[in-house]
Subunit: 225 residues, 4 copies
């Protein structure tokens, strides 16, 4: 049994093909993971007499909170992944493997989400659930950042990408170690606060505030020239 | 942690790439959402002695109705989404985010479908289920319309699209606020009627009546020239 | 609310784009449907004391038979679908809708498969399950055939496709009304026989016997020239 | 009913199209199979009084082990599949069918994974589960190897692929009959050892050790020239 890596990489022949399938597999995993989240939204099975369905749905608020946080987080990771592959000229065998690691954490996320939905507001269990959740988020963003750093290191990035662009993307993908680390610690004391923190991080990454600013800046530069 | 948006958009370099992955992720979510609907069709677990399986299946008619309505609705949203991306020249970071919002509602739809299947013909619960369902449909079509309006506003539409074509698509994607709004109100009184209304709306959007008319009109014009 | 069809079809601009997304959505649905089949293979939950796991697995043979028949059938439909789109030059709005109908039956198939797995060898219920299953297969192959006939009728097929090729594909996609019809009738009396018949049909469509013959024929022709 | 194969293959017209859809369907199945694995990670439903959630999660270690082994294995199969299609110039009807067989085993893998998670550490049942799991891995890698050998045999490989590259890939895809066979036998006596063996095989195929060596070798050759 020889390692796949022992296969001479088809250099110069189909540099973009590997990248195409990397993207196809990734988009598939992102799509399935995002859609499976809704599968875990349980329909209240039995209503206590006189209880309104609306109340029964309301009682399951942790499931909805978890759903929104995880959807936003996977969305944010997808945006980052998208930005990385946009700069890639080609993929090598190591990148394909690192990408599998990203997908491992993305496809795993529905599990801590279920854990959170089940155990939020249940004492010590709540703390465990929030910590597992936070660690998964930390690992995801860490590996995504690694994917980009490896691309740079291995010379897989398009030569026409400016140094400026590369620096900005590098910063943007910085694993947010500090923020996630802090939230994990906060989660030991006030788990719900950590979960809300994770939501805020995801929303911050998702909601386009800066582009408007940037466009204005770029317009200014264009005028200055 | 810098916002993804702070990353200089790779202008002019790979304008269609972002669009490609937007479509890939979207098609994945549409495909999974459509197929998961059938997962919620429960097989009658135990037959009462002497009960025919056909009767047991028949008893679960709300599940089948919900299945058909949701399938038709997701199909109609996909057609609209398809029409939008067909006119897009490229995607920017904001569009990617708005698209994630569309996918949020599409992937969420199986949940209100389950709710409907479970609680139709169960008094007050029925009303809640029909309303949640209607609001999800309203939100989906509203966000899809927003996606198109933003594309126009941000200049992402292909320059060779005629004003006529753009006007028609804008009308077509108008959120149908009035119709859905009316059906939601009807649903407070006769929930099943609202559900049948949602089916009719989806079928109206799906069944190609107009193209035949349009083709005839176009043929006339061609003759006139 | 205007019908999507009222939107002027972007003629001559992106004829292949619509086709691309038709294929992407279809491949997604086929992939999910095929993979979900395995989700319905239940792990024997509790073993009666002294019962061997192998026996417990063996007891669920209808589930495995159903799995194989449905996998083979979806595979055969995919091959047919693939052959059709291979000949398509472009897709119009009606074709997108007919394709959604194909996907409706493909994504529905896991449900009658579960029904079959649950009720085979259970008297009258068995008959109902086999009939529902057969009708779904009949509908799938009927709609697939319709998809091809519409493509021909609407002039969506590539002009360089020879009449010979078209005739052969038309025959191949003929809904097998007679065979499936016969099997449905047989299923009323001996349901298991019908299921095995469905398997044989799928295998016949899947196992490549003819290509070898054909290649020989083509080689002969080449020599004759 | 004529066999699909009887349809004259559209020679020379769209050789790469078939390949495109083969990849699209495959990536879909790989993505769904990989993501569904996490669906089988059960959230501990009820905690015994005083039991810590962490302990309850720890008790389900076989599920996590199975998850990691299966994820790594599907990842390794995907890398092999990717390498094969990278060398393909086109796909013929037989290849499409062989590929369906690969997908059959890939999409089936979540079932033996569940079996393993349920029955590891349960006496004789454990042995059955480990054997079923091993046989599925053996079949997957066997069929993948067959896919490549057929491609070579049928002349579907790109003419510009060097004999060296082809030999290396052939070796790499060799079904590992011996290793998997040995592990299956070991599994009869110490099932957990076999499972850890499957993990090591997958990791060996996944972790890029050799590329570094290879690159050094290639650099040397380049210098030698």
């Amino acid at each position: 049994m020889t390692q796949p890596d022992a296969a001479p990489e088809p250099t110069g022949r189909s540099p973009t093909r590997n990248k195409g399938r990397l993207e196809a597999l990734s988009d598939g995993v992102f799509a399935v993971a995002i859609t499976l989240l809704a599968l875990d939204l349980a329909v209240p099975a039995t209503l206590h007499s006189q209880q309104h369905l609306l109340d029964a749905i309301g009682d399951e608020w942790p499931a909805y909170l978890g759903y929104v946080v995880s959807f936003a987080t996977i969305g944010a990771i997808w945006l980052g992944h998208n930005a990385i592959t946009d700069y890639l000229e080609r993929a090598d065998v190591t990148l394909l493997r690192l990408n599998l690691l990203v997908l491992l954490f993305v496809s795993f996320l529905p599990f801590p989400t279920r854990l959170l939905a089940e155990y939020v507001s249940k004492d010590t269990a709540e703390r465990v659930a929030a910590t597992v959740y936070g660690l998964t988020l930390l690992a995801s963003s860490g590996v995504l950042s690694l994917l980009w750093r490896y691309s740079l290191h291995a010379g897989l990035v398009r030569p026409d990408a400016s140094d400026d662009e590369i620096t900005v993307l590098t910063k943007r993908l910085s694993p947010s170690l500090v923020v996630y680390g802090l939230l994990i610690i906060i989660g030991f004391f006030v788990p719900v606060a950590a979960v809300i923190g994770y939501l805020l991080v995801a929303l911050y990454l998702l909601i386009p505030v800066h582009p408007a600013l940037r466009r204005r800046r770029m317009a200014k530069k264009a005028v200055a020239k």
